[in-house]
Symmetry: C2
Amino acid sequence: MVETKFQQVAIIGLGLMGASIAAGIKQQALAANVVAWDADATSLDLGCDLGLIDKASDSIADATSEADLIILSVPVQAMAGVLSQITLNGQIITDVSSVKGFVIDTVKAVYGEIPANFVPGHPIAGSEKHGVIAANPDLFRRHRVILTPLKETSDQSTEKVTRLWTSLGAEVVLMTPEHHDDVLAQTSHLPHLLAYALVDTLSAGGDSLEVFEYAAGGFRDFSRIAASDPTMWSDIFSTNASPVVDILEKYVTELQHLKQLIEEGDSEALKAVFERAKAARDHFSKLQQTRHANGG
Amino acid sequence: MVETKFQQVAIIGLGLMGASIAAGIKQQALAANVVAWDADATSLDLGCDLGLIDKASDSIADATSEADLIILSVPVQAMAGVLSQITLNGQIITDVSSVKGFVIDTVKAVYGEIPANFVPGHPIAGSEKHGVIAANPDLFRRHRVILTPLKETSDQSTEKVTRLWTSLGAEVVLMTPEHHDDVLAQTSHLPHLLAYALVDTLSAGGDSLEVFEYAAGGFRDFSRIAASDPTMWSDIFSTNASPVVDILEKYVTELQHLKQLIEEGDSEALKAVFERAKAARDHFSKLQQTRHANGG
């Protein structure tokens, strides 16, 4: 396998994701030089102090003009503003956003076309921690990274970005942006919406918190994800509306069906649904264990 | 505080809960003698071998006739059959079922009245493990136990059962059966239903498991509770139908509202709901931490 090595990597947005990528690149010595830009100067200073980056750039233009790889790790709503400050001169560009269709549309709107070196990406990894201070070079190890190259994307760019992620310990999977947005709407976006809705319903719109005194284990697991960043998540739902609405409608239909079974006292039919769900969950759980046992 | 000490405790149903209570009673030396009955003779043998019980009884009548405390830890659907084999002669009777209204109705149906020594109970504790082998004397430590004494219940019986639980390290809370069933429908039954429904919807009724390959952290937490026992949970929904249907209807209304906000692209309104939910969740999380910090 050809060695992955970049001359200058520019990281735009030095939050948990950007800083963890920087940390991984440093740990694996994948670049001669790592520069970063962030709207928050304190994050950049901390990135320098922690040795995660070699240089803090004053501007996006400055960070990216001489880079051979640009990693965009800014909120999706900030993407257009960031892209408009990048002058394309052959840099490979990738991103880490949770929605791909919206980002691709933004790239097209800003540049008038999809640059051949643009490789949309999404590492399926995260943490409850935030910011540069939580940077972890192993954040992506044994996690999947989905890349959604377009027909305009050069194979070479996809290959280079794949090698970067593989070097950070991740498993890269290629799929279309539409499939990505559909799969993520189901496995990530819907669960977050359900958790927010549960906590909000139980607190009766914030009026009553007594019920939480008696919350048991199941609820605790469930509600943890309701502590996620409200701004980031309202952006995700706004920018991936159609796939989320599709799966949400299916989900509500299933809930209505279960409600009917409960009202009819049909415990045999309820049990059959629960057994089917448990079998699917046990299958999923085994998949996870196998992946971890294989170290990949 | 007066010492809690029983002459003979009879545990009917030696699964995780019954066996953990037995283990706790042994550990704290709360009874001169612990006897148990279970439909499964292997569980009883194991209970003896592990020193959790002093004697395995051949029949419910045999286990309970000389007891001063009877603990019912059998599935709710088995309750009527068990009760009909107990001849009342002043024993205190308590149970550990997740639903209280149904159990109380069963007691009334079997005996024609509520015995003065019946103290309905529900420890808010559990484990993913099952059976005698998983018995844990500390299972209830720092957990809440809800007791729902009725107007017929004698204060002395409630006091004795309260002391038992307190001696096992639990915090006892008294409330009405109706309030218990309503609170548990919200904090435990609804989350389990949502988790089963999510896994079932995403696996398209068991037909497709590809989506689970990309399931991220949030989903993992969520789906863990979908691995719970299908028989036990279909029983819970059948026996606590009305409070579950009530909260489920509120929840579906909230989902419909969120769907509308997503369709309208109203990310400010979405964000406001998420912020409210996060604030409630953070409050809940602090409650939990405070309780653990206080060791009670």
